[in-house]
Symmetry: C2
Subunit: 313 residues, 2 copies
């Protein structure tokens, strides 16, 4: 039996709609894989999903990703999976992708690591596509590799790993509501004004440069989303107040994580992330009667990893 | 008397429409500045423009830029300018910006360098705006600073200088036709499909990362323009054949320079740029009866500079 952990991820990252993401250290999902006698993939157990996820491996991102990896390897080895959801569903922190990543990392380890990291990544993306009807490389890739990742292309996959400036940390506020990614996407429409698109790619280019150079002042100026946030902010009551509180408390930037409802803020240090997170939680508490989780973490450099089975509750 | 040279620039650079540019070493424009008794800016001579540029300093980018710098410095010092156009008009290599940059660099030097580089840059942009009705920071900034430059924002200016990978060189083919930037811009329309915009900023992010990391394979994959080139290529007869010839000859990428008609190709070495340039010129010669210039240069790291007056023909 092998257990693998895959962390939550923040995708879009303001200017990087659909192409940029980064990993947290925690929280995340755990998948336990073991060899089974019958060929194919079986999901014998899912915990932490409130019974909402399908146990059919074709309709579950963990199961579908494991199947994609086995197909890629050309093996008929049977695999049993247990999925321990540490991430809430439809929360905007890459929950479906993390399950897919944890599954393929666990299965690959169980089989003696026959697949390259690139093959593991492709299987996880194929699994997310099969299991939930859409692929989010800006969630899947950072959950696997850690750090910041730019998905230049999905087909064929062209994944660019970016440096993480020293100290960079993150606070994520997760309001207890759900946002369906498909509905959030429909809000965006099919076209963007050219002038808006130019501003967005100017900011993304600057953001990528800032990650390389470690210029956190530039990073802060570039953490602006002209495309998705203006149209989606209304999905998350209290967003504007939370963002204002984060910036006032010293965040480098603050925006929706993925399609929301989670809200992330980047900070220069982990201490600052704790302070900013408290300010965000306090502002949200005043603006909404809905509960919320607060996660504070360095930007996770490690990504998915095999873990000790004893660490699983 | 002080003379300053400002080099030609390639803007847009495939994925970086309106925000990314780089400098050549040569060719470029030269402006000679000297003190004059009467307050204000006078353009006493322009060479190399075929008599087409206005001598009215308010309607000439060199004159307007010099006026903007003097206004910024709060001086009523009189200045006389001679403009030596080394760059053809409406050619897509930043001709109007180069004159503005050369003028402000010469004037600033003449006055003992009272203005910072940032102030010089702002004056050059103001001059281009006043002199030709539009500002192209992705031409002006690389012509001044050298290397690759990303214009994150124009107002206020936020200019990000990017590293130049060792050896990177360029061939520019300049067909003897003119493309008016305004007409080329009108071809683009006001909106871009969201999916196209996402592909464009994915490529721009990868391109910026490749410049930092020196990954020229990634640079090559990222040198793709989904926004402007497909709509503008028809302005330049023979473009498709020239591009195909450049890529076959080993170019990392090839696209329109600015809004054309010039066509640029980036290469790993200066030798490769010579070979690619010859292939481009040969293909153009077979496709068109129009003449063309070929410029081959390293990516220019120096940008605008004060030069010896003896070097001016």
């Amino acid at each position: 039996m092998i257990a693998a952990f895959a962390p939550a991820t923040v995708s879009n990252v303001a200017a990087g709609f659909d192409v940029l993401g980064f990993a947290l250290d925690e929280p995340g999902d755990v998948v336990v894989a073991r060899l089974a006698d019958a060929p194919g993939v079986v999901i014998s157990e899912i915990r932490g999903d409130g019974g909402r996820l399908s146990r059919d491996p074709a309709k579950n991102t963990a199961g579908a990703a494991a199947r994609a990896l086995l197909a890629r390897l050309g093996t008929s080895q049977g695999i049993d999976l247990q999925v321990h959801k540490g991430l809430p569903l439809a929360s905007g922190v890459g929950s479906s992708g993390a399950s897919a990543v944890a599954a393929v990392v666990a299965v690959n380890e169980l089989l003696g690591r026959p697949a390259s990291l690139e093959q593991v990544c492709e299987a996880a993306m194929a699994g997310e596509m099969a299991g939930c009807g859409a692929v989010h490389p800006d969630n899947v890739a950072p959950s696997l590799y850690g750090g910041f990742v730019l998905a230049r292309s999905i087909d064929p996959p062209d994944i660019v790993r970016l440096p993480v400036p020293a100290g960079l940390a993150c606070a994520v506020l997760h309001p207890h509501q759900e946002v369906q990614t498909g509905a959030a996407r429909a809000l965006l429409g099919d076209a963007v004004p050219l002038a808006t698109a130019v501003r967005q790619w100017a900011n993304l280019g600057a953001l990528v440069s800032a990650l390389h150079s470690g210029d956190l002042d530039l990073l802060s100026r570039a953490l602006v989303d002209h495309v998705a946030e203006p149209k989606r902010a209304g999905l998350v009551p209290g967003f504007a107040l939370v963002k204002a509180a984060a910036l006032t408390a010293g965040a480098l930037g603050c925006s929706l994580s993925g399609s929301g409802p989670s809200i992330f803020a980047l900070t220069r240090t982990l201490d600052a992330a704790h302070a900013v997170g408290q300010a965000m939680a306090s502002a949200f508490g005043q603006a909404s009667t809905v509960g919320a989780d607060l996660w504070v973490s360095p930007v996770g450099r490690t990504g998915a990893r095999v873990i000790d089975l004893a660490g699983i509750r």
